[in-house]
């Protein structure tokens, strides 16, 4: 093994392990310069311990941590939980809206008449309840901005519920 081969192998490694092959060891034993190069690699392998543990001055760290406290206290910028809940609620509201407007007509078209009648009779209590709720909100819906206001209220309701579930979930993970 030549010095050039030895150093090329040393420089091309992707590991910090200073272990040399028997052939490399033999070469390093007979060449002072290569032994010194291997010694340098040994020393670099324990570089993390050279400086001990560096630390920021207490004042600098306190400044960042105070900012962290404020950020989590006021929830700004919006935390991931808020974002996730908003997106989930929006998706759920869209799916619910689509179900209310599209599903009845679609089912009536797709299902055979006898099956449709059975489904209607099975869902009768639920439909009655839905109708009574819809009648309650009918005066509001007929007003200007009534429908958007109802949609917003529905979104906020689902958002609050989703956020509560997620916060409770995070709390359980924390404890």
């Amino acid at each position: 093994m030549t010095c050039e081969e030895f150093l090329k192998a040393l420089d091309g490694r992707e590991t910090r392990s200073p272990a040399l092959s028997p052939e490399q060891k033999q070469h390093a034993g007979s060449c002072k310069a290569c032994a010194l190069a291997a010694r340098l690699e040994d020393e670099l392998a324990c570089a993390p311990s050279w400086a001990g543990s560096l630390r920021l001055p207490e004042k600098s760290r306190a400044r960042v941590l105070a900012r962290a406290k404020r950020s989590t206290l006021f929830g700004w910028p919006p935390s991931r939980l808020l974002e996730d809940s908003a997106v989930s609620s929006l998706v759920m509201a869209v799916i619910a809206g689509a179900a209310v407007y599209i599903l009845p007509g679609l089912s009536k078209r797709v299902l055979p008449p006898r099956v449709w009648e059975v489904v209607l009779s099975a869902l009768a209590p639920l439909l009655d309840w839905g109708r009574s709720v819809a009648e309650t909100f009918a005066p509001l819906a007929s007003q200007n901005w009534g429908l958007p206001l109802l949609a917003l209220a529905l979104f906020l309701l689902v958002f609050a519920a989703t956020l509560s579930v997620k916060v409770l979930g995070a709390g359980t993970a924390r404890s």
């Binding site: 091309g12 050279w50 001990g52 600098s60 960042v64 900012r67 950020s71 924390r174």
Partner: protein
């Protein structure tokens, strides 16, 4: 460098509004980030300023962190960008900004003669590191001092792995030549 144990859980806790989780993350990574920045700037005070700026950026971004990359590489990338922002306006010939030769070296437990020889070698390495160009210096520091893999360094610096390997190869060679006075062929 060890990754913070349970780091996903700490991130989730911070995202759920627990500021103590951020302190845990910061205290774990602070020495490594400060070491890298000190290496890049050659100036302790400037490195501390950049380290503070790095963690403020981490704080702003951690709400949105989804763990696609490791937390360690993500934080180092922010530190690297903070250092790059500093150098962007500076004359590249003027690097390093400070006049310090590098990180302090602590003496180990071996006997006085061996310890002295080791300290001399470490001091020479630190001087040689200070004289390297920015990129090989960053690659060598992340590889040896922060114990990152080639893939992790590639992610931190935004370079292909092949380029990182090339910088590692050439950096080692330049470091050896500068610290030990050995030529590429091995002759002193």
């Amino acid at each position: 460098m060890e990754s913070l144990p349970d780091e996903r859980r700490w991130v989730a806790r911070f995202q759920a509004g627990d500021s103590a989780a951020f302190e845990k993350i910061m205290r774990h990574y602070e020495p490594y980030v400060l070491g890298l920045l000190w290496r890049m700037t050659g100036d302790r005070a400037r490195a501390e300023d950049l380290c503070q700026e790095t963690f403020l950026r981490v704080l702003r971004g951690l709400h949105r962190f989804r763990g696609e990359s490791g937390l360690k590489t993500w934080i180092f990338r922010i530190a690297q960008n903070a250092a790059a922002d500093l150098f962007r306006g500076a004359d590249p010939q003027a690097e390093p900004l400070g006049d310090e030769t590098g990180l302090p070296t602590a003496s180990g437990p071996p006997g006085p003669a061996e310890s002295l020889e080791r300290e001399q070698l470490r001091a020479r390495v630190e001087r040689a590191m200070a004289s390297l160009p920015a990129l090989p210096k960053a690659v060598l520091h992340l590889f040896y001092w922060d114990e990152l893999t080639v893939a992790e360094i590639s992610s931190v610096l935004g370079l292909p792995e092949g380029t990182v390997k090339t910088h590692l190869f050439r950096g080692r060679r330049a470091l050896r030549e500068s610290a030990l006075g050995l030529s590429p062929g091995g002759a002193p």
